[in-house]
C-alpha cells in the first residue's frame, strides 16, 4: 500500500489534494464493486430526487464563497446539510450536529456561527464563507499556513471549523493573550488535543 506523500506548505500542490476524493478512491480500490453507499454520494442523489418531488420544498438562495446558488429545499434542511449534501461543498464538517463541537463553523455576513444550528432558509441571501473560501487563488491564508507549520491538527476533522473560527477571532481582536485566545476558541473542540498548536498558529497570525 502506498501512502500519500506528506503535504507541506512549501511543496507543490498535490495533483488532487482533496481528502474526500482520496477517500472515495481508496474505498473503491478497497471494496471493489461493493461501493454503492459512498460517503453521502448516494444520500445526496436521494436528497436531490426527494427535493424535486417534495411539495414542501421552498426556494433558498445561498451565496457561498462568492457564488450564488439557487436551491429548492425541505425547510428542515440545516445550513450545514445544504452545504454538504446539496451543494457538495464538503469542507465544512458535521461533528456533534448539536452546537457543541464547532466542526461546522462557517462565517455568515462576517460572523462565525455553527451551521448545524441554523436552517438554510434562515440564511437565504446572506454571504457565507466556508473553509473553501479562505484561500485566495490557491494561496493559503496566513492562518491556514500557520496551522500546518504549528501542527494545529492531527486527524483534521475539526480543522475547517477551527480555521473559520480563527479567521473570525482574529478579526474580532480577542487575541491579546493565550488565555484570551483559548477562551474565544472554546467553541471549537479538537479531540486530538492539538490546542497548543492551534493557539500558537493563531498567535502567529495576528
Amino acid at each position: 500500500m502506498t501512502l500519500p506523500p506528506c503535504y507541506r506548505p512549501d511543496d507543490e500542490e498535490p495533483a488532487d489534494p482533496s481528502r474526500r476524493s482520496f477517500m472515495i478512491g481508496s474505498a473503491v480500490a478497497t471494496a471493489g464493486l461493493i461501493v454503492t453507499p459512498l460517503l453521502g454520494e448516494a444520500a445526496r442523489k436521494d436528497a436531490a430526487a426527494t427535493q424535486q418531488a417534495d411539495p414542501n420544498a421552498i426556494p433558498v438562495t445561498l451565496d457561498v464563497n462568492g457564488k450564488v446558488h439557487t436551491l429548492k429545499l425541505d425547510p428542515r434542511t440545516t445550513l450545514l446539510d445544504a452545504l454538504r449534501e446539496h451543494l457538495d461543498i464538503t469542507g465544512t464538517k458535521k461533528g456533534c450536529d448539536q452546537g457543541a463541537c464547532g466542526a461546522c463553523t462557517v462565517i455568515v455576513d462576517g460572523r462565525r456561527i455553527n451551521s448545524c444550528l441554523t436552517l438554510a432558509a434562515m440564511n437565504s441571501g446572506k454571504k457565507i464563507v466556508t473553509v473553501e473560501g479562505l484561500a485566495n487563488e490557491g494561496r493559503l491564508q496566513t492562518i491556514q499556513a500557520a496551522f500546518i507549520r504549528r501542527d494545529g491538527f492531527q486527524c483534521g476533522y475539526c480543522t475547517s471549523g477551527q480555521l473559520c473560527s480563527a479567521v473570525a477571532l482574529i478579526r474580532e481582536g480577542h487575541t491579546r493573550s493565550d488565555v484570551e485566545i483559548r477562551e474565544w476558541m472554546s467553541g471549537n473542540v479538537c479531540r486530538c488535543g492539538c490546542y497548543m498548536g492551534i493557539v500558537e498558529a493563531v498567535r502567529e497570525s495576528i
Binding site: N56, I58, D74, P75, R76, T78, D97, Q98, G99, G102, T105, R111, R112, I113, N114, C116, L117, T118, L119, A121, M122, S124, S165, A168, L169, E172, H174, R182, E183, W184, S186, G187, N188
Partner: protein, 328 residues
C-alpha cells in the same frame, strides 16, 4: 424531524398573526430550537422566522436601557453602555455558550431556552413530566448531579439554563410582550414559572406572543453589579452554580442589594431572603455568609446534587467578596 412549513416575517403584526396559528413556533437564532427540532422534543407544523423583525436595537431610554429581543448575545455583551452601567448583564453573556452561539442567539430566545435536563432531551426511553405531562420525572430517582435544589417539585427538578435570565431577574428587568391581544409588560422575575404540578408550563408567554424588548432600570446596584459562574470546566459549559449580584453601598452600609442565582433553581432564582439579610449591614464575610444561609434554607437535595447547596452559598460569598473589592 417533524415536517413544518417555513415563513420569514418582516413586520411584528404579521409575525404575531403567523405565530398565533395552531402548531406554529417562532424561531430566532435557532441555537435551541433547531437542536430541539432534531431531538423531536419540539414538533411545530409552522415555523415562523422572526430574525428580520425591527427589534434589533439597544436604546438608552428614560430611566434605563431598552434591549430589542432580536439583539444578539455577542452584541449586547460588547455594548459599551451595558458594560458600564449593567456589567452583570455583559458578564453573564460572556460566560454563556461559545462565541459562535453568542453570534447567533437572540436575547429574547435566550430567555425562552429550555432546560438541558438529559431526560427532557432524550425521548426514546425516558419519562419526563415537562415533555410528556403525567409520565413521571426520571431525574428525581436518576442522574441528578446537575439538577435544581431550589423551586423543585415532585414533578420536576430541571434547572433553567440561562445565565442572562439570572442577571435580568436580579436587575429588575421588565419584558414587553406582544401578541394578538396587544402589548403587555411582565416583570422578569414573574416571567418564568415554578414547575409545581405543571412543569410543561415554563413561562408567562401566551401562544402567538413574542418578547419585543427587555427594559433594565438604571440603578446604583446595577452599575455596581457582577456575574460569577462556576462550572465543571472553565469555558463553554452550563453553570453548576452562578450568582448575579448588585450592591448599592453608601459609606460602609449596604443600602440595597439585588441577587439572583443560576444553576440551582428551576427558574432564574431571585434571592429575596439573601437581599433582605444584606440591607442595612456592613459588607463583611459574616454578613455575606448569613445572606447565603438565609436563601438556601429552603434548598432540597435529591442525592447527587446535595453538594450544590453548600456550593451555591460559597459562590454567593465569593461573588459579593469580589464585588466589594475583597473586603470580605
Amino acid at each position: 424531524m417533524n415536517p413544518f412549513d417555513f415563513v420569514r416575517e418582516h413586520e411584528i403584526p404579521a409575525a404575531v398573526k403567523s405565530g398565533a396559528r395552531e402548531g406554529a413556533k417562532f424561531i430566532a437564532g435557532g441555537t435551541n430550537v433547531v437542536d430541539l427540532l432534531k431531538c423531536d422534543v419540539e414538533r411545530p407544523t409552522h415555523l415562523v422566522d422572526i430574525n428580520a423583525l425591527p427589534l434589533g436595537k439597544i436604546e438608552t431610554v428614560s430611566g434605563g436601557v431598552k434591549i430589542g429581543s432580536m439583539v444578539r448575545m455577542s452584541d449586547l455583551a460588547a455594548n459599551s453602555h451595558i458594560i458600564q452601567n449593567f456589567p452583570a448583564i455583559s458578564q453573564a453573556l460572556l460566560v454563556s455558550a461559545s462565541p459562535q452561539i453568542r453570534n447567533m442567539a437572540s436575547i429574547g430566545g435566550n430567555l425562552m431556552q429550555r432546560t438541558r435536563c438529559p431526560y427532557f432531551r432524550e425521548l426514546t426511553w425516558t419519562p419526563c413530566n415537562k415533555r410528556n405531562p403525567g409520565s413521571r420525572c426520571s431525574a428525581i430517582e436518576g442522574e441528578n448531579r446537575l439538577h435544581a435544589v431550589l423551586g423543585t417539585s415532585d414533578a420536576c427538578i430541571a434547572t433553567h439554563p440561562s445565565d442572562l435570565a439570572v442577571a435580568v431577574a436580579a436587575l429588575d428587568g421588565v419584558l414587553t410582550l406582544r401578541g394578538p391581544a396587544g402589548e403587555r409588560k411582565v416583570n422578569a422575575v414573574d416571567f418564568h414559572l415554578l414547575p409545581g404540578n405543571t412543569p410543561h408550563l415554563e413561562h408567562n408567554l401566551k401562544h402567538g406572543e413574542i418578547i419585543e424588548s427587555i427594559f433594565i432600570p438604571d440603578a446604583a446596584y446595577a452599575k455596581r453589579s457582577a456575574y460569577l459562574k462556576i462550572r465543571d470546566r472553565a469555558a463553554y459549559e452550563f453553570a453548576l452554580a452562578s450568582a448575579a449580584v448588585g450592591l448599592d453601598i453608601s459609606g460602609d452600609t449596604i443600602r440595597s442589594a439585588r441577587i439572583a442565582f443560576g444553576g440551582v433553581g428551576t427558574k432564574p432564582w431571585r434571592a429575596k431572603f439573601a437581599e433582605a439579610a444584606l440591607v442595612g449591614q456592613r459588607p463583611t464575610p459574616n454578613i455575606f455568609r448569613a445572606a447565603a444561609e438565609a436563601e438556601m434554607k429552603s434548598a432540597k437535595s435529591y442525592g447527587q446534587n446535595a453538594f450544590k447547596i453548600e456550593f451555591m452559598k460559597r459562590t454567593l460569598v465569593r461573588a459579593l467578596t469580589d464585588l466589594t473589592g475583597g473586603a470580605a
